[in-house]
């Protein structure tokens, strides 16, 4: 079947065969490799995207269910440069191997869109579904706290 949805502000359609996940369609059909496949069980958040205003694990979303939806991936969160979340993460050393990074950028960008001044515990709760194996999370927390206390 052909599934049509809005992806990063543009109308797209994709060929979907059987019970294919949105993640597989993003990567294999639409060539957007930013969303990562790491656990395929919705545990690690590496595949996080925003689906109709909610952060979801795209590995758990049937591609067919994205019909008519608005989907934002990491590729849709910055244009030429970096958005403030990405910039803060870069400066704080929040990126090591980087495999979790797109999912964390998605979750954190959505957190700050909804809540521009999150507390430390709100930051942690918002990212509780994103596993990072490298950083121990310290640099990620420092990056996001620096934004929360800043311009807002």
């Amino acid at each position: 079947m052909i599934v049509e949805f809005r992806l990063n502000g543009e109308d797209v359609n994709a060929r979907v065969v059987g019970p294919t996940s949105l993640l597989d369609v993003l990567r294999d059909e639409l060539g957007l490799f930013g969303s990562k496949s790491a656990c395929a069980q919705g545990e690690c958040g590496s595949c996080s995207v925003v689906l109709d205003g909610e952060v979801v694990c795209s590995c758990l979303v049937m591609a067919a269910d994205a019909e008519g939806s608005e989907v934002t991936t990491v590729e849709g969160l910055s244009t030429d440069g970096l958005n403030p979340i990405q910039e803060a993460m870069l400066r704080s050393g929040a990126v090591q191997c980087g495999f979790c990074t797109p999912g964390i950028v998605v979750a954190a960008t959505e957190l700050f869109r909804v809540n521009p001044s999150p507390t430390r515990i709100e930051i942690k709760e918002a990212l509780a579904g994103n596993i990072c194996r490298c950083t121990g999370y310290g640099a990620i927390i420092r990056a996001l706290e620096s934004l929360s206390g800043g311009e807002q």
């Binding site: 990567r27 957007l32 490799f33 930013g34 969303s35 990562k36 496949s37 790491a38 656990c39 395929a40 069980q41 545990e43 690690c44 590496s46 991936t73 990491v74 590729e75 910055s78 970096l82 990405q86 993460m89 870069l90 400066r91 704080s92 050393g93 990126v95 090591q96 191997c97 980087g98 495999f99 979790c100 990074t101 797109p102 950028v105 430390r120 515990i121 942690k124 709760e125 990212l127 509780a128 579904g129 994103n130 596993i131 990072c132 194996r133 490298c134 950083t135 121990g136 999370y137 310290g138 640099a139 990620i140 927390i141």
Partner: protein
Amino acid sequence: MTTPTRTRPTVTSGIGDSPLRPDGVPKLKGEFQYAQDLWSEGMLWGATTRSPHARARIVSIDIGPALATGGVHAVLTADDVPGPGMFGLEHPDQPVLASDEINYWGEPVAIVAAEDPDTARRAAAAVVVEYEALPPLTDPEEADRADSVFRRLQIRSGDQEVTGEVVVEGYYEVGTQDQAPLGTEAGLAVPDGSGGVDLYATSQFVHADQSQVVEALGLRPEQVRSHPTGVGGAFGAREDVNLHIHLVMLALHTGQPVKMVYQRSESFTGHVHRHPARMWYRHHATRDGKLVRVEAKILLDGGAYASTTSAVLANACYFAVGPYRVDSVLVEGIGVKTNNPPCGAMRGFGAVQSNFGYESQMDRLAAELGMDPLELRRRNALATGDRNPTTQQVIQTPLPVAECIDSLAAIPLPDGDDPILPGGSGLTTDRSHIVRGVGYSVGIKNLGFSEGSDDYAEARVRLTDEGAVVETAAIEVGQGLVTVLAQMARTALGISKAIVRHVDTSRIGSAGSTSASRQTQISGGAVMEASRRLRERILAHHGGDELDDLGVHRAGELIAPMSELIREGWEETYTFRHPPTTPPDDDGHGDIHADFAIAAHRAVVDVDPELGLVRVVRVDTAQDVGRVLNPVSVQGQIEGGIMQGVGLAVMEELVIQDGVIRNPNFTDYLLPTILDAPDVEMLLIEQGSWWGPFGAKGVGEPPTISSTAAVAAAIRNAIGRDLNRVPVRPEDIAL
């Protein structure tokens, strides 16, 4: 009046600075290319047929149904393997594909190439293998009795008849931890049309991959080029070959590019794990707390194939006493061969396991003596110029054991409640039930390869219109090597513009493995020395006295601009070696190690003793880092390493029954989340290494070594119970 002297301008983003990592922007934008993201026109997808038995005899294999699947281009078995068909990082004891016997659950039996991943997986499942299941050997003590071993190592130092006024004994276990890098095994093999293959696959050591592919398949070395590619974490899991040989076989057979990506469950069988350990300890001391004798028996289960068990066992044994002085030592180490999943490298490499043993013993001894646990450690602290009590090697590098202990003790303890309760979002705990505990551990580990291995790295530095280009095959796995090598080149050359370029095995000599906390020291040593020599040659050639971004200067005057130097095509290649080490003698003695690093940890935990729930509130540390070359990277290594140590202490364990992994997924293999992360206060002890470039020591492993034992000690302190096993499970606390 003084003559103005021209001071050398400080380069920007040199050592001591924290320049932004060059791969940071693409990683943040989702544009960085990992092995999982590789793509080639007309490529096929590979999949693997694996044994459902831990031990079996293969009666027959029928590839007919798999081959008949539409879209399948190849189904290969052991019969199709050209060459000897064996591989292994230290010994080639592992078949590329099993031919007649199965030795562990998940062992590869056949490989498939098909037009899409689903078809490949269906075809792999359609290979019909008839097995005769056999009883697996899974008890490591039974394997020891049956002499099914990869290595036995005995270390004897001093008078073996000595006994102490105070003697404490203990038995300890460490469960099987998985590296669980977020990026699973993945790769792409591309035939070059003339019998060769370019391999791009997850790795920590491309030259070892290349040589194992070539030797296993009986190819000529020039037929296989292994390219560094984007790696989503490693922690030891990428040191051994897994899909590499399979990819090359399929690419050569089909003449088409072949890509393979392990799914998470397959990843858990597709790479080696941290060795589970059983340890028996007896510590003897005087009444005033001076260690007089340590006896240890350390049993590591290596699983079905050798991998690096021999070296992991050696590490566990050489550091079986810890960073303490003691004259009389007896260590018996056994690395057994069983039908459990193969074990090998993981961050800390043997030193983690014995640290849990000897530090649990130090606490037990302190309790027996009625002494403060840190005071007992301080009284026995090893120092530079001492002999390592196991190997009898005189320690030449700065070894700030006492300084780490004192610095750690000076970090204020947290006061007040932690906002996160044990059990997290389950909210089953009531704050009135929580008890707090504090525990300590001090760890020691070698840096670089040991026991006489020729440990070296080659690097090349070229002047081009991109600036100084560092060429290396050293793998960036996330740790930030790509940043620090450029920093070293900048400082050593005096040029601000430098980048790191990874090149394949045909274009540069080996950098060795990204493991053993070694690349900053060894590849860093090569980059520093190549840069220094290049600078000297350029200055000598032009008769200058200074080199900087503008070019060569003499007496303050620019005499050769950078554009001229670039035209001249300067480059320097250097192979760096650390001071030589020796194999052990019959007593386990020798100059076994090149360098050492120390870390001390203090954990603070909140425990609900009735529910068995633990929240690790803080892990503070003082770490011996040599010199800080990049503060942000060092902090990241320490925080990340501590988190993996905390994981082993309270949640991470592969559950293996009868050789079968029962939890090969992220739902059941628990990894620490941001809500599990403790706050970390750290103090960095800077006493330059005796040979590391700019005084650097490796910093990646020490955070993982003693953080586990510190957390376990803190839980014991909270609940007053003897815990002799990590991870500490709820039932160990509450039942």
